[in-house]
């Protein structure tokens, strides 16, 4: 006969209540570790979104006037293709530039509405042979002021610093969250072992009267899962705060131009939330499975 949901929930609730302090410690640890883990993802998404035009070794961008003639365009292309100091380039036409703009400013539809592909400047994104800052500055300068060129923008040291800093911060976030997740798994295990010991007599009676192994185990496993789910809810709240209050602040119009595009798309936020939930479930199933198989000799 199957386990009654009412029975399973009641027993799980009682277990949580009996071990209230330890349960809360577990929930908070899971919440903080998942928050850090999710924060690692959100931060990476935001940095990637902000610096995507500078990825793949691109060191400077030659922005053309939308009204540049085909001859002017051909001259710039010829200069790029014949330069021995340029390793590679990508041409982003007006339609592609518009798509990128829409992507970056997806959370600001009023801005996207007033822009059309015709006003978007096409650009050449250039990968030099030598990424040294002085070499890049000298090379970018060769295109500055040429007919049809609107402006030339270099990936300056600040952007590189941001990328480096982001890498380091992400590593710390990830390492910290993994350590905390391991601690959370151990806490779930400890919590359930404690519950098993507290209920030694009940378990003995259950075995004697013929309760199945799963009937005995399920409430304990549910206890671990409930703790993890509560931790995930706690983490979601924290991630919402990161997205709205921290990342959102950088993407406001009056923030640094450098941080334009430093934001998280809604699908990235949903993915991160789902990942946090998945990790929470995995951690709880691992912790509670070890506890019931090692300490609940059925």
């Amino acid at each position: 006969m199957a386990i009654s949901p009412v029975y399973a929930l009641r027993e799980t609730g009682q277990n949580l209540w009996r071990n209230f302090m330890l349960s809360m410690a577990t929930v908070i640890t899971i919440g903080v570790s998942l928050w850090l883990f999710g924060g690692f993802f959100l931060f990476n998404y935001a940095v990637d979104n902000a610096t995507q035009r500078w990825e793949g070794g691109i060191e400077f961008v030659v922005w053309m006037n939308p009204e540049a003639t085909s001859e002017q365009n051909a001259n710039i292309l010829d200069a790029i293709m014949t330069s021995p100091e340029i390793q590679d380039y990508t041409f982003v036409d007006q339609d592609a530039a518009y798509e990128e703009f829409k992507d970056i400013f997806s959370d600001t539809p009023e801005l996207v509405e007033v822009v059309t592909p015709e006003v978007m400047p096409p650009s050449y994104r250039v990968v030099p042979v030598d990424p040294d800052a002085d070499v890049v500055a000298e090379l970018a300068g060769q295109f500055e002021g040429r007919p049809g060129v609107k402006t030339v923008v270099s990936a300056n040291d600040t952007i590189r610093d941001i990328q480096d800093l982001a890498d380091e911060v992400s590593t710390v976030f990830l390492a910290g969250s993994l350590v905390l997740l391991a601690a959370a798994t151990l806490l779930i295990l400890t919590n359930i072992v404690s519950a098993i010991r507290n209920r030694g007599r009940e378990i003995e009676i259950m075995k004697v009267v013929g309760a199945t192994n799963w009937f005995i185990r399920i409430p304990f496993m549910l206890e671990g899962i409930m703790q993890a789910l509560l931790g995930a809810v706690f983490a979601w709240g924290g991630l919402y705060v990161i997205d709205q209050r921290v990342i959102g602040r950088f993407s406001q119009p009056d923030s640094l131009e450098l941080m334009a595009g430093f934001q998280v798309e809604s699908d990235e936020l949903i993915f991160t939330g789902g990942l946090v939930l998945g990790i929470a479930l995995a951690v709880s199933v691992i912790g509670s499975s070890i506890a019931v198989t090692r300490y609940l000799d059925t």
Binding site: M1, Y7, I205, V209, G210, I216, T298
Partner: protein, 225 residues
Amino acid sequence: MIKLENVTKVYKGENVALRDATLGIDKGEFVFLVGASGSGKSTFIRLLNREEVPEHGTIYVAGKDIGTLGRWKVPYLRRNIGYIFQDFKLLPNKTVAENVAFALEVIGKPRHVIKKQVPAILELVGLSEKIANFPSELSGGEQQRVSIARAFVNRPLILLADEPTGNLDPQTSVGIMRLLDRINRTGTTVVMATHDQGIVDTMRRRVIELDRGVIVRDQARGVYE
């Protein structure tokens, strides 16, 4: 109902708890297991419930070789065997009715069955008036009655009792034995380990005596010594 064929149980350190035991117990029998402490009475009972597995020999319960049962089938075996403890093992945070209902609840019986069977069994053991009391509010004899009710509420084929009167005074013990006798008359096989000479001598039922793990006497309508 129960059959042992050359059953030997050895604990760690070469401590032989049961040696080459062979016997049969029919349906509806009432059997006393007697012998000194450490003679193997509790091991005998634990083997029947598959809490222990013998090193040698075969045990049949209700026609099934319980030594070959898969782990997942053991709970279903135990649903046919009621178990009464010397120290009652009631759950202190549950009432009398809840303690008895617990035995049905954890084997997945529906609520309407529990609601019907619990009052009936509590009436049988004479505790209808104490249905809402907690174990701490009961006498030793009453607690043992609750324990018996919990063991019998699922109407098992066999009732195993390990020193059920060991913690009770003689007068209360008589009441408990009357109750077990009444249950036995319903066709339930009762196997009871005891040190209580007065009870064994009064009831005059089958007596199996163990001495250091060996069956030294198997006597119908026997006495303690």
